[in-house]
Structure formats: structure tokens, C-alpha cells
Symmetry: C2
Subunit: 503 residues, 2 copies
């Protein structure tokens, strides 16, 4: 219930909010079912879980598209509302209009198909056999094209799908930013590869997974994660989910990559911290919901890259790591910092990529999924196209589909158009970080002193607390004082890698 509701608040507004609250709760229940499926559910539970999720999706859809919702929205068209109320209505209207165009059956079918797709993707990845995943992927693509066609038959389907993940920065912006990143990063990557500098990599050998799990808790503790309102588990594809009362983190470990697991944990912490920073009294309405994926990813990237991959973070955190892993006794913070930022020539995996090549991974996926949705590429040709593009953009070719086009979970969720927001978010992270620093002073100094709350509190005040009050461009302006742009990011990576590789 909005804190803004006054005596003069129109009845239609109150009714709309009550109704929306119920929808939010159904969606929140769906998220728990999803979390459970990925983290806790025994494999054999899938058939029933698919039906449960599908029932909730179509119920949520039915509730959102009830005739009375349209009527309330019409009534509120020229009602006298506060700015916050206007924002609430804007968000609900947008959701309503999109949902209203999509038949309930299709929503249920997509949900059920994604539930079947998840185990297929897992199996295909485990067995390194794309053909296991291909049929359900093809099915999902057709369903999502149909979905986009319902929402806006006059727009390219990919553009419509993209707006599900980032409604307020259009696909042109995404393309422009990705283009800029390619222009700036390709020569930078070339320079790095040509450099004689060899960064240290002191994290050799095996690192016990249980001990890494303890270390993940250490780092979450250090950053100020509130375990009274969250928990950490392992999942094959790390994610964060929840609400302002219960925002959970998942992570994963591999014996030979303790730094990767730490960075992944910090990344998900960034997401969860955003969620926990949403205003509690607004639970269940857009003012208590996060802005979309660009902003969400800016929060995870800020913590992962600007904090976790900084020199000072390693000065601060390395001792805790040495306590867990005494074999690291002689490692210096500088060495750890280098290891956390090394640009590997042969890395095929997006989530293990450095801050430069990362965006090449995104560009590959972006181009391929766009072709798939626009009908310019057959599903069966995905592995070939994938590998060719890796060769072209990164100079490496995956040996297996497991390390290639099957590496990421997103398509099994039916998420096409999601990937660009990873780059958009990284770009925004740099912009927000600079605004933070302009406001609170030397951030390195805070990190060195373990004063992570200064960062979290600033982000909460300038980003989290607004929920979906502002559109993405408005929120960026509000938080940073300028329009969304890639300059901060380009400056940041240029400076960082020039220094690291002595360019």
C-alpha cells in the first residue's frame, strides 16, 4: 500500500493497488518455486513443478488482465495523483498493456515449456550434446516469437522481447552501447594480448570446496550481507532472487578457481543488496520493486568489479582467505589483484571472463539470439555459428558445446533479449561508481577500512530506495546527475588495464 495514499486518493487507485499486491504475491510465490527448483528440488519433481509454475504464471496473467484493471486504469487516466502514484500507475499500466495482448494459454505454455527446458539444458550440458536441448529450444523460440507478435506485431520480435528486461532504454541504445564497447575494447584487448606483462596467478592447486563455502560466507559477512534476510546456497548457474524481506544468493565453486567463486558470490551479493534495499513498506507495489535488469546488473557489477576486483579489496580480504587456505601464506595483495583481473587468452566462459572480453561474450550471444528470433538462424546451426563467432571476436574456438553455446542457463528460461542488459549494467556500474565517489570521497579508503556500509548505504539512498519510482533514464539522472552514457566505463577499463598491462 502506497504511503502516499491520502484521503483524496481515488478509489480506483486503492483498488488497483490491492489487486496488484495480490499479483505481486503470486509472482513472488513463483520465484520461490523457481529458486527451489534450481537449488533444492529433487530432479524427479519436475513434472509437477512445471504445472505449478505454469498455473501461477497464468493466474498472475489472468489477474493482471482482468477487465476491472483496464477500467481502473482508464479511471485514473486524468485523476489527480501524486508523483509517486503516477509512477505506480505508469508501471502497472505498462505491465497490463503488455499482458493484455498475450493470451493466457500462451503464457501457461511458455511457463510449462521453460520448466521442461531446464532439465534438458542441464542434461545437454552435462553430456555435452546440444541435440538434447535443441528441440525444446526451438519450441521456446517459436513460443516467444508468438508472444512478441501478440504484444506488437509491427516491431521486430527481438526488440519486443528486449523490452521485457529493459523497458526504458530502447534496443537502439543497447546496440549503440555494444557497438561503442566493441570499438573501444577490441583494440584494448589487442594491446593487452600484445603486452609483455605477465600477471601473477598465485591461486594454483586445489581449493577444498567446503572451505570455499565458508569463505563465501566470510565475504558476504565482510560486505555486510544480512543473513537474517537472506541465505547462500550453491546452484549450477548462480543467481539471486527474492524480495526486500528475503533476498537469497546462490553461488558455485570449482576446486581450481577460488577467486572466480568469490567474484560470483560478490556479484550475487550486489543483486541481493539491491533487493534488500527496496523500501519494505512498499512491498507488493512498484515502489517496492526493483527497476529492471540494467539497473539490477549495475548493482551486481559495481560490487563485483569496482569493489571485488579492486586492489584495496584484496588488501582488506586476503588475510581472511589466508586463514581459510594457509597455502596462500606468501601471496601478496598485488598478486591477488592481478589474478582477479587477468585477461586469459583462452577463456571460453562468460561468467569467468575479465571486464574486457566479457562484453565480447555478450555480443556473440546478442547477435546469435537476435538471429534466432528474427528467423535468420536455425537452431541446429547454433553450435557452428557460436564457435565461428568466438573465433572471430575472441580468437578462440570451443572444443565442446558445454563450453560453448550450452554454457548459460538463460535460453532454457526462455530469456531472449536478456543478455544485452549485462553490458548495459556494467556500463552503468561505472557511471554510478563515479557518482558515488564524487559524493562520499575516496571509495578505496572506505574499502581499505572495511567500511562497506558507506557504499551500500549510498546505493540504497540513491538507487534502491526509489524502487520503480523512476524510469531507467530518470533513475540514472537522479543517482548520477547525468544521462546514461558509456564514457565512465570506457575510462575506467582503459585506465585499469593500461595500468595492469603497462600499455
Amino acid at each position: 500500500m502506497s504511503s502516499q495514499a491520502t484521503e483524496e486518493t481515488p478509489d480506483a487507485y486503492e483498488a488497483l493497488l490491492d489487486h496488484y499486491e495480490q499479483i505481486s504475491n503470486v509472482n513472488a510465490a513463483g520465484s520461490i518455486l523457481q529458486w527451489d527448483q534450481e537449488v533444492m528440488m529433487p530432479e524427479g519433481g519436475t513434472p509437477a513443478r512445471s504445472q505449478q509454475k505454469s498455473a501461477l504464471s497464468s493466474l498472475s496473467h489472468d489477474l493482471l488482465t482482468e477487465e476491472k484493471v483496464g477500467e481502473w486504469l482508464d479511471e485514473l487516466d486524468d485523476a489527480d495523483l501524486t508523483d509517486e502514484q503516477e509512477a505506480v500507475v505508469r508501471e502497472i499500466r505498462r505491465e497490463y498493456e503488455r499482458a493484455d495482448r498475450v493470451p493466457s494459454d500462451l503464457v501457461a505454455e511458455i511457463s510449462e515449456t521453460t520448466s521442461e527446458a531446464l532439465p534438458k539444458w542441464k542434461e545437454a550440458k552435462a553430456e555435452d550434446d546440444f541435440s538434447i536441448f535443441a528441440p525444446v529450444l526451438e519450441n521456446l523460440i517459436e513460443l516467444k516469437k508468438e508472444y512478441a507478435e501478440h504484444i506488437d506485431p509491427d516491431k521486430p520480435a527481438y526488440e519486443v522481447l528486449f523490452a521485457d528486461y529493459e523497458p526504458y532504454l530502447d534496443l537502439d541504445t543497447a546496440e549503440r552501447v555494444l557497438e561503442r564497447l566493441r570499438e573501444e575494447l577490441v583494440p584494448l584487448i589487442e594491446d593487452v594480448r600484445a603486452s609483455d606483462v605477465e600477471l601473477a596467478d598465485p591461486f594454483e592447486g586445489d581449493f577444498d570446496v567446503d572451505t570455499q563455502e565458508d569463505l563465501a560466507r566470510d565475504v558476504l559477512d565482510t560486505l555486510g550481507y544480512d543473513f537474517e534476510h537472506g541465505r547462500v546456497d550453491t546452484a549450477p548457474h548462480p543467481f539471486s532472487t527474492g524480495n526486500q524481506f528475503d533476498a537469497r544468493v546462490t553461488t558455485r565453486f570449482s576446486e581450481d578457481d577460488p577467486v572466480g567463486a568469490l567474484m560470483s558470490t560478490i556479484h550475487e551479493f550486489g543483486h541481493a543488496r539491491y533487493t534488500l534495499g527496496l523500501p519494505r513498506e512498499q512491498y507488493g507495489n512498484p515502489l517496492g520493486e526493483s527497476r529492471d535488469l540494467t539497473v539490477h546488473e549495475s548493482q551486481s557489477r559495481l560490487w563485483e568489479n569496482h569493489v571485488g576486483r579492486s586492489r584495496v579489496f584484496w588488501e582488506k580480504f586476503l588475510p581472511a582467505m589466508k586463514e581459510r587456505f594457509p597455502q596462500l601464506e606468501d601471496v601478496t595483495p598485488e598478486e591477488a589483484y592481478e589474478a582477479a583481473n587477468e585477461v586469459y587468452e583462452d577463456n571460453l566462459i562468460r561468467v569467468e571472463a575479465d571486464e574486457l572480453t566479457y562484453h565480447m561474450h555478450i555480443i556473440v550471444r546478442f547477435e546469435i539470439e537476435r538471429e534466432l528470433i528474427e528467423g535468420d538462424l536455425d537452431v541446429e546451426d547454433v553450435p557452428q555459428r557460436w564457435n565461428d563467432k568466438y573465433e572471430e571476436y575472441l580468437g578462440i574456438r570451443p572444443d565442446t558445446d558445454a563450453e560453448g553455446c550450452l554454457q548459460d542457463i538463460h535460453w532454457s528460461h526462455g530469456s531472449f533479449g536478456y543478455f544485452p542488459t549485462y553490458s548495459l549494467g556494467s556500463v552503468l556500474a561505472a557511471q554510478i561508481y563515479d557518482a558515488l565517489e564524487a559524493d562520499v570521497g575516496d571509495v578505496d579508503e572506505k574499502v581499505r577500512n572495511g567500511n562497506f556500509d558507506v557504499i551500500a548505504d549510498w546505493l540504497e539512498e540513491h538507487v534502491h530506495q526509489h524502487g520503480a519510482r523512476y524510469t531507467t533514464p530518470e533513475l540514472v539522472e537522479e543517482a548520477t546527475g547525468e544521462a546514461y552514457n558509456a564514457d565512465h566505463f570506457v575510462d575506467y577499463v582503459t585506465e585499469k588495464y593500461t595500468d595492469l598491462y603497462d600499455l
Copy 2:
């Protein structure tokens, strides 16, 4: 969807089934949320979780009471249906008629209040302070009385509530059975207490909880629990939940009571095995749902008491226990059997009780909750009344409310009328066990050979596979060849304890 549906199946039947499937899925989602809350959720998640569960409850209620459901049921009144279809309609009609009388708001309020009640109960128990729980308990009682009043204003509220848990054996039957148990068990308990026999108790000392957890997995493995369709976790109050694709078990451990934890695990296995034995192709309709609590409890009690507390079970399982706990090296199966069946004079806790005094615990709770619902007892007087009754029926008086009226979770769920089904189920377990033995021959022999599948398969065939096809009395007749009665149970405990205590 019923496998019985034929070309001549009335449209109303198909429509009703589709609709009911959606309701089942919403309810199943609610169960996952409940499991998560008790097993996984961080404490701080409660406010949002309460709203989520409440939203699902009222949605489920709204769906069930939609006008068209009544219309379909009317249409089916004199339709030509198969026996199975008749059963499906009978079950849905019963649910519909009860739900239709209760306002949606009240359903939501009850759900929200139970969500708040759970942490209050936990806190009250942890701090041994009934006054923390009392206000919300009082609130729940009022709400449940109101609920019963809506369903049937002409019947005593407790009778109406009881029918939520056991719709087909009436409260008179419950009273008669409890009366019979009191008559038979009180003298038996007196004889046991007067006996000179001292049973062995070789499980002294501390038993590492992590190792007990491994042992719980061992026992579930031994019994044939299908981990592809289930999992085991710890919860402060053990329970089992799920569906035929994913039926989970929870258990709890205490350092000084490894046998108690094992028995609790076996008990929950019995519930889960019932759920997993429901026909998969009937998921989402009454033919794929379990019969009510009496039958459910018969399955858990059969495994816990008739299998787990038998001599032959300990012959079979003790070696596995010794492997985990080498300090038990010298323990004999007979000693373990005695320990698993000792009647402790000073046991205050229902779930730790032997098979005789157990029913005294039930009778106390039954009498007190009935008084509460009928308005004959004030909430504030519960601890006093509880302690007085324990003194009267069991000759012991709790020192604390944590060990007294706060020991069980059920009231925090708003479950009043649930407790009698524990005794009704124990009684039925003995009757079913005798039918099983009459059919497959010496069950001890199967247990001795680790042939637990014979038991599970028989139960699946004669009980589980029927879902809610038959009413409780019909199912008992179908499975055992005779009407529900307490004779088998009385014979069973008389023989067992006469032998154990040399009476």
C-alpha cells in the same frame, strides 16, 4: 486429467477437472512456500511470506468457489459417470461446499495469522514463555470458530473443524476410539509401571548430530526412499510434504537421542512413501491425492511402530548404526529393541512417547483444544490446564511450557481438530498391518531379509494407488476386508508390552 475420461464424458466434468487441476497446483505451490518457511527461509522473510501464503490461500479459495464450479457440479448431479468420476465429483463437491460457505477475506486472514503465529510459537517455545504465543493463539481460535460457524452453524465448532482433517470418520468415532484407548491403555500402563522389568537402554552418551544425519539417510535408503523424488532436511517440528513427484521428509536430531531421531525419520518416511505411491498420472485431481489424515497417519505409524520398533528391524539395522557409531559395538539387537520401546515414566513429549502413553498425550490435547474451541477454556489458562491434565493422565507435571503446551507446532498452523487423527491413524496402522501379514505372510521375515519393498508395494497397491477414490471407511474395508476398528491395535500393544514387560 482422469484416465477414465471417455468420449461420453460430460463437458462439465472435463471443465471441472481442468479447473480443479489449477487449484491443486496453487495449493501445491502453497505447500512449497510452507516447507520453505519451516526449513529454508531466513527468519526475516516472514512478513512477505505471510502475504504470499495468504494470497495463494485466498486465490485457491476464490477459484474453488467460482460460480461456474457450482454450475458444473449441478450439471453433474445426474450425469452418467463412471465410479471413478463419481468419486472425483464427490471429493470436489465436498471441498466446494465447505469453501463456498467461508468468505474469502476470512480465509486470507486465517492464512496471514498462521504465518505470524509460526515465529511467535517458535519464540515462545525457545523462551519458554506462553504469553508470547497467547495473543496470536487467541486470535486464531476466534478466526477458526468464525470459520466453523460459516460452514455449519448448527454443529459444534470442534466437530466442524475435525472434519477438515478427517471428513469421513465422524467425531463420535474419534471419541469412541479415544475412549476405548483410555480404557485399555490406562491399566496396561499401570501394569507396565508396576513391572519389575527394566528394559535396556544402551544408547547413552553423545551422538554427533552430523553423523546422525548420515544415519537418517542410511535408514531412508534401507527402507527404499527414492531420493530422485524426495529429500531430507531438518526442521524444528518434523513433517513431510509434497506430491507423487516430490515428497520430502524432515527430521530433527538431538545429541542424546539417536533412536528418537531414527523413529521420527521412519515416521516421516511412511508419510512420504504414501505420497509417492499416489498414481502419477492422476496428479492434480482427487484420484491423485491422498485420503485424509487418519489414513496418512496409518502409513507413518505402520512404518514407525510396526516396522521401526520391531525386533527384526533392529536385527537388520543395528549393524549400520554401529558402523556410524562404533561406541555401540557391544549393543545387541534385543537391547536396541528394548530401548526403542521403553515406557519412560517421566516423558513429557508426545513425539518421544512410546506406543502406549502416546495416546494419553493425544487425549490431553484433544480435550483442551475442544474446550478452547467450544469456549470452555480461556487461552491464558491453557498452561495450568495442560499441566493438571498431565498430572491426572500421566502422573507427571511439566516444569516448563516449552515441554508442556508449547511442545507442538499444530496450533500455530491453526490446526484444531487435527490431533485425534494421530490416534485414529495408529489404530488403523495395526489393522492394516494385520491385513498385510494375512496377505504376504510373515512380515518379520521380509524385514529380516531387508525386503522392505514387499511392504511398500503392498501398501501402494492396497492403499496409496487409490488416492481419494474411496472414502475412509470404504478404503479401510477395501484394504483390510473389514470395517475400521480398534481391536487389532489393542491386541498388538497388549501382546507387545506384555512380552516386553513380562506382564
